[in-house]
């Protein structure tokens, strides 16, 4: 075991190497300072951690299982594959871990209202859920493109009492929702906590979200030791902003024998330009409040991105990932929309598990890596969410005629 991979940004003014910081209007600085103070204060308070863990256990169903995917392993004829089943928690994805943690922080700060950005809607759903549970007013900002492709999540957010505000600027996806959430926050600082959903934006968000999500990796350490008596050889997770992957990776960073792979959205293929592969095509910059790699044009403006998975369809990468990439601790690759659909079908058929489109990116890499490894090797894949929410997209992509028929009938019924 070696150290040096783990950074405490509270001691580095919010930087992970050259990445991170606070590239925000001066008027946000007091609010970020307040959040940092409240968080450091909560860290010293044992009852805060106890309450967090209690809610994760009793409300969200943690620990989530680490499942040995025996059928998939046999099929791929290589390394043993374990799936961390984050989709089995409350709201169906890992997003709820962070939402619970930040809701408890907001309560400590005396805030009455939660706002959040969302891409796939999973983080919006998690935020709306904790708002309902803890009694916060709630507003979710979501790009119009994403609202159109993730209607089921919008429906549930609204049922949970949240106001879902469509964002119609830019690409109308996650980055535009982040901008709008920040703008709304600037206008409502006194009453509102901005519940950032990923390890991005200005310090201290990346470290707070990472710490709340680290529960994933901590559980895996215990679970894999029980199952295999040792640590895994590989960890694989998808990377949008990077919260589920950092949650899995972080507790393992100092175990040098554990290799880690982050999988970005390759969209229609890197060469088409329609993707969200920041490590393949991103440049250093500062957009949306932090310094990291971003997909940008020659003048430094953010470029349009694409992915079949709304949760990965984003211009920037969390600063800690940019750092881990720069020191070579984690390697990053990408999976195309087409490969993702194949991986999704394979997991459903072999294991009876329906993964989210986002998480299916990690499976693509697992399918590539596992057969090349010996049967004594162990891979852990983070299935960060379940795929129920994707039924419209997947059914359309698979050109399922009966589904189309079903939709037509539903419309007819609704029109009556």
């Amino acid at each position: 075991m070696k150290s040096g991979n783990k950074i405490n940004p509270f001691k580095t003014k919010g930087y992970f190497g050259d990445f991170g910081g606070r590239y925000v209007p001066e008027m946000l600085i007091p609010a970020l300072d307040e959040l940092e103070k409240a968080y450091l204060d909560a860290l010293k308070d044992k009852s805060f951690q106890q309450e967090f863990e209690h809610i994760l256990k009793t409300y969200s169903g943690r620990p989530t299982p680490l499942y040995f995917a025996e059928n998939l392993t046999k099929r791929l004829k290589g390394a043993k594959i374990y799936l961390k089943q984050e989709g089995l928690g409350q709201t169906g994805s890992h997003k709820v871990n962070n939402a619970i943690g930040q809701a408890l922080l907001a309560k400590r700060m005396g805030k009455k209202r939660l706002i959040a950005e969302t891409g796939a809607g999973q983080h919006g759903l998690a935020t709306a859920t904790v708002a309902a549970k803890f009694g916060f007013e709630c507003e979710i900002f979501m790009g119009l493109t994403d609202i159109k492709r993730q209607r089921p999540n919008v429906f549930w957010m609204e049922q949970l009492g949240a106001k879902v505000t469509p964002v119609t600027t830019g690409n109308m996806t996650l980055k535009d929702a982040v901008n709008e959430a920040l703008r709304n926050w600037i206008e409502t600082l006194d009453t509102t906590h901005c519940l950032m959903g990923s390890v991005l934006s200005a310090h201290p968000y990346p470290v707070i979200v990472r710490n709340f999500q680290s529960v994933i990796g901590k559980e895996v350490i215990t679970q894999i030791k029980q199952a295999e008596g040792r640590l895994p050889d590989y960890l694989i997770a998808c990377v949008g902003g990077g919260s589920n992957s950092i949650g899995l990776f972080y507790p393992f960073l100092d175990f040098d024998n554990v290799k880690m792979i982050g999988v970005e959205a390759g969209g229609l293929g890197i060469s088409t330009g329609k993707h969200s592969a920041r490590f393949a095509k991103g440049k250093l910059g500062m957009i949306e409040g932090y310094r990291s790699l971003f997909l940008q044009d020659k003048d430094g403006r953010s470029r349009e991105t694409h992915s079949v998975a709304a949760g990965l369809d984003y211009i920037g990468i969390g600063p800690e990932h940019a750092y881990l990439h720069s020191i070579g601790r984690v390697s990053y690759t990408s999976a195309t929309d087409k490969e993702v659909l194949e991986a999704l079908k394979l997991l459903i058929k072999t294991e009876g598990i329906i993964p989210a489109l986002e998480s299916s990116h990690a499976l693509v890499e697992c399918i590539k890596v596992a057969p090349k490894l010996g049967k004594d090797k162990v891979i852990v894949v983070n299935v960060s969410g379940r795929g129920d929410k994707d039924i419209f997209i997947v059914a359309e992509a698979l050109k399922d005629k009966e589904w189309t028929e079903f939709l037509r009938d539903k419309i007819k019924e609704a029109d009556k």
Binding site: G21, P25, E26, M27, T169
Partner: protein, 256 residues
């Protein structure tokens, strides 16, 4: 170049370059000059303008869709600075545009076009790894720092040391946009801030009529009008010159 910061308070206005097009920008700048505008912020459109409200966000987006490039903006700015020598022109934009070009190259380009300064709201002095503020000052380009009521005295001290020309305080904690009331203790906040930064203070955000402008000019040195002019231009369409002139000259009169 004029510098009217004495008894008469100065007026700064704002345009988004390329919105709706450079021809209209030129006409609007002429109107602003005729109305006695002292400073004009020319915003280089950006994809993610997080400090801006709906009016300016919309203008940024349309300017980008119509293909406004950075080099177009720099060229246009040079033409305006040459044509309206009585006005101090500034670029307003977001830091990634400058960083992406390269700090030295960008500032050198701005210097060649005889601009007065730069307003970049998303580069707090703590994050200035590239030496942006220093490089501006070394080249006699004024870095105008934006802050708001709520910025602490300790930070104001640093702001006073990195900024030059003047500083820009928002009238309230919020994003740009017309029609909202200023911070309740704005007067005493600005009076205190002025002593600490030791520079003239511009106040903007939400100033949309002459009465408001006059009231804020009691303690501010420069009044900034942003979204309201854009609103007038958007509403009036092609015949924006007359209403825009009337609005701005009323404001200017209220400041003397």
């Amino acid at each position: 170049m004029s510098n009217s910061i004495n008894n008469n308070k100065a007026l700064m206005t704002h345009i988004v370059l390329g919105y709706p097009n450079f021809e209209a920008n030129k006409k609007l700048i002429k109107v602003m000059a005729d109305a006695g505008t002292d400073y004009i912020e020319m915003q280089i459109p950006f994809s993610d303008p997080i400090a801006d409200g709906p009016t300016i966000v919309n203008a940024n987006q349309k300017a980008l869709i119509s293909g406004t490039s950075l080099s177009d903006c720099i060229k246009f700015a040079g033409e305006m600075a040459a044509a309206f020598k009585e006005i101090n022109f500034l670029f307003m934009t977001y830091y990634n545009i400058i960083f992406s070009t390269g700090i030295s190259k960008f500032i050198n380009d701005v210097k060649k076009k005889n601009l007065y300064g730069l307003i970049v709201p998303d580069i707090p002095f703590d994050e200035d790894k590239e030496g942006f503020f220093q490089e501006c000052r070394n080249n006699s380009i004024n870095p105008v720092y934006v802050f708001s009521p709520g910025t602490t005295d300790e930070r104001l001290k640093k702001i006073g040391s990195v900024a030059s020309g003047f500083v820009y305080c928002t009238s309230r904690v919020g994003i740009t946009g017309a029609g909202k009331d200023p911070h309740q203790k704005l007067n005493s906040y600005i009076t205190n801030a002025k002593k600490i930064v030791n520079l003239p203070v511009a106040v903007g955000f939400g100033i949309d009529n002459a009465a408001k402008a006059k009231k804020i000019a009691e303690f501010a040195d420069i009044i900034v009008i942003g979204s309201k002019v854009l609103n007038i231009v958007d509403e009036a369409g092609r015949n924006f010159q007359k209403p825009a002139f009337k609005f701005l000259s009323d404001i200017k009169k209220s400041l003397s």
